[in-house]
């Protein structure tokens, strides 16, 4: 198992090199650069050229990239072009907020989605199934931006239960988490349902019923662990995505997460900050997927033997 984990972590190195290379060159190809943006419209070409030189932007792109990679090997993500402060500081000021939001949104979506998906599968083709899936469909189709504003309108402005914006109390996280988790809840519920429907039709489930076990035991003890594998994959992907920042939710609720920072940085052609955010997202995504793969082993003994 330990060998497997180390191997997976080592796989991350070429992935990171590939991702940084791709992002660095894409940023370089995009029109405009940080010096132009910092100096504004009044700056003369000479002033821009002088600042480009100061920032090292006059160097060939490959030199800039290698210099960046050199810094990265020493754990230095560089300084933000826009604010002059260390990218690590900028990101670490925001990443805890993203983790918090992801955690609460994931808990919210899992708690709702699993029962919803299981009930829909067990009561397949009944009104319960239809209602659950219509509810999920609404969740998937509803624009997150609209849902977020509606939640604020009802629960903050009309009822006064939660703050409109911010991240300064436990109440502040509820609406952003619901808004973010709702869409994920819908896709997890739909995956759970289809996976459980398939599992329930298996011979061993019929055997379990014929042994005289009641429905709850059959579903929870036999069907659920086997039906969970695709659901775990989806949950992993959703969490990985949320850890990369949820720009719309963060924007509407003024949540100070990484997603907003990334978009600001792209607009400001702030390459070091963009690179920092992307590296963080890549590592988060890879780690979440590693955890997902390990969880397969927990639910499926066949996978456990593969690790050995």
């Amino acid at each position: 198992m330990a060998r497997y984990i180390i191997k997976r972590i080592l796989y991350l190195i070429p992935v990171l090199i590939g991702v940084t290379l791709l992002v660095f060159f894409i940023m370089h190809l995009a029109p405009g650069n940080a010096a132009q943006i910092i100096l504004g419209e009044n700056a003369t070409p000479d002033q821009i050229a002088a600042l480009e030189k100061e920032m090292g932007l006059d160097q060939p792109v490959i030199v800039q990239y290698l210099r960046y990679l050199g810094g990265l090997l020493h754990g230095n993500l560089g300084n933000s072009y826009a604010t002059g402060t260390s990218v690590t500081t900028e990101i670490m000021a925001r990443f805890p907020y993203t983790v918090r939001l992801t955690f609460v949104a994931a808990v919210f979506s899992i708690i709702l989605a699993l029962p919803l998906g299981i009930i829909a599968a067990v009561r397949q083709n009944t009104w319960v199934d239809s209602a659950s899936m219509v509810f999920s469909l609404i969740g998937v189709s509803m624009p997150i931006f609209w849902l977020a504003l509606m939640l604020i309108l009802v629960f903050s402005l009309k009822l006064g239960w939660f703050p409109v914006y911010g991240a300064d109390s436990w109440k502040s996280i509820i609406l952003p988490a619901v808004s973010l988790g709702f869409m994920n809840m819908a896709s997890i519920a739909r995956t759970t349902r289809s996976s459980m429907v398939e599992t329930i039709r298996q011979d061993y489930i019929r055997t379990a019923y014929s042994k005289g076990l009641n429905e709850r035991e059959v579903i929870m003890k036999h069907a659920f662990p086997n039906g969970m594998l695709p659901t775990i994959t989806v949950i992993g992907l959703e969490i990985g995505q949320m850890l990369g920042g949820s720009v719309l939710t963060e924007t509407v609720f003024a949540w100070p997460g990484v997603g907003r920072l990334l978009i600001q940085s792209i607009n400001g052609r702030d390459t070091p900050t963009v690179m920092g955010c992307i590296i963080l997202m890549t590592i988060s995504f890879a780690l979440v997927n590693l955890i997902v793969d390990l969880l397969y082993g927990v639910f499926d003994p066949r996978v456990r033997t593969m690790y050995r």
Partner: protein, 506 residues
Amino acid sequence: MRKNSLLLKTVSIAAAMIMALGTCTFAASASEDGGKDSLKVALTEEPDYLSSCDHDSLMGVQMNLLTYNGLTRVDMETLAPVCDLAESYTMDSDTEWTFTLKDGVTFHNGDALTADDVVASLEYAKTFEASLTYTGGIASVEAVDPLTVKITTDGPQPNLLYDLAYHFNMILPKSLIDSGNDFSANPIGTGPYKFVEWNKGTDVLFEAYEDYFDTDRKASIKNLDFVIIPEGSTRDMALESGQVDFVYSVDSADIDRLQNTEGIALEQVVSVENFFLYLNCVSTEFADTNLRLAVANAINREDIVLGALNGYGTPSYSTVSMGYPESTDENGYTYDLDKAKEYLEAWGGDPSTVTLDIICSNATKVSIATIIQAELAQLGINVTINEMDSASYQAAMRTTDLCSAIVSWSPANAMTYVKRFHSDRRTNTPACWASDTLDEMVTEMSVNMDDESRAAQITDIIKEANTECVFVPIYQVNYFRGHSADLQNVLCGATGYVDFCTMSWS
């Protein structure tokens, strides 16, 4: 049954974790100051810097106005430069100025303001590339005595008093400049507010400076908290719910609702920020003045204000915004299709061969361009719209390849505005209109040190710019600031800044 209790346990643990997470993480900021000695302001975006020399952004300057002072400042009501840290000044010759400093001024770190601080600050500002437009004319600065400074310019600089009010030239303590202080992390100045804390991505806190030198402008609200709320609807709902007291920019879709909401007041200011249609006068058919005049007279600006701005804007008929003492709309434009067709005829070309490709950097500009597209179709001119992000847009503005763009300008004074009609502007926007007549007029005005005759020259330049149609004006922005009705003496300037010193709670 066992499974059920397991599920219940899991849910309970998860709920407890969420509660614990919330309580632990946010406990430090749980006690809120709900008293009337604080003001919570919703900003549209976070300032990049709190230092005065590293940026040229609206939010950054707004923060600078709290913590720093210049020798002069621009009065928000009159837009004229007035003394700030300077007690008085004399113009000894066209290039020599002597400033006497106010006595007893202290920085937030306790240092007393002296002429050495002024010398160090103005020299420090010149080391920043971004500041050169506003510091480049200063040849030397010299401390005559502890409270007297002599500034020598590299030629007649009638703009000096404005330049000294600009944030790049704000005065910092020499001791901190010498020690390499990071003024963004530790913004020490002489301003009415002292910096307290900057929580990145969340808020910036200030508190009133008790020893502020200007008793007339001493802050009456003790604590200022600037929170960052990028989404307009959220900002407005935060104001309605009482979670913030002041909204820096009200979303135009919410103006009607907020105007009718009890306990909320809206301030509307017709700004000097002018939106216009920039045309490539170098490599397209728009180098012909008659064609530009045809476009200028074929656009119904009221349609644009209604259609793209929900009615909240002011149609603009002159190349320089109305609102400066020197402004005029003489030789300006009207919506007159017949006149537009006459200009088109005078141009003599075939309008169906003309394509006006307009680049836009946001959704509002796209709406404006769409209305222009419909209106120019009446002249037979084909308009295409090209939306791009602001960095690409800025890069495109610096080329001769671009055909047209919707652009805005909001200089603090008309002199700075009309200087942009000189051909040297082509170093920044190489495809803009330039003419010998305008060059001559701007050059002459730029060295005229007599205020009265210079104002007349500026007015003449505006008339000439309208005649030559240097670009097509569209509208002046109306700024909407929303606040609690209990907040009094709210002063919002036409250049976009808000004076937080004058505000008080009723």
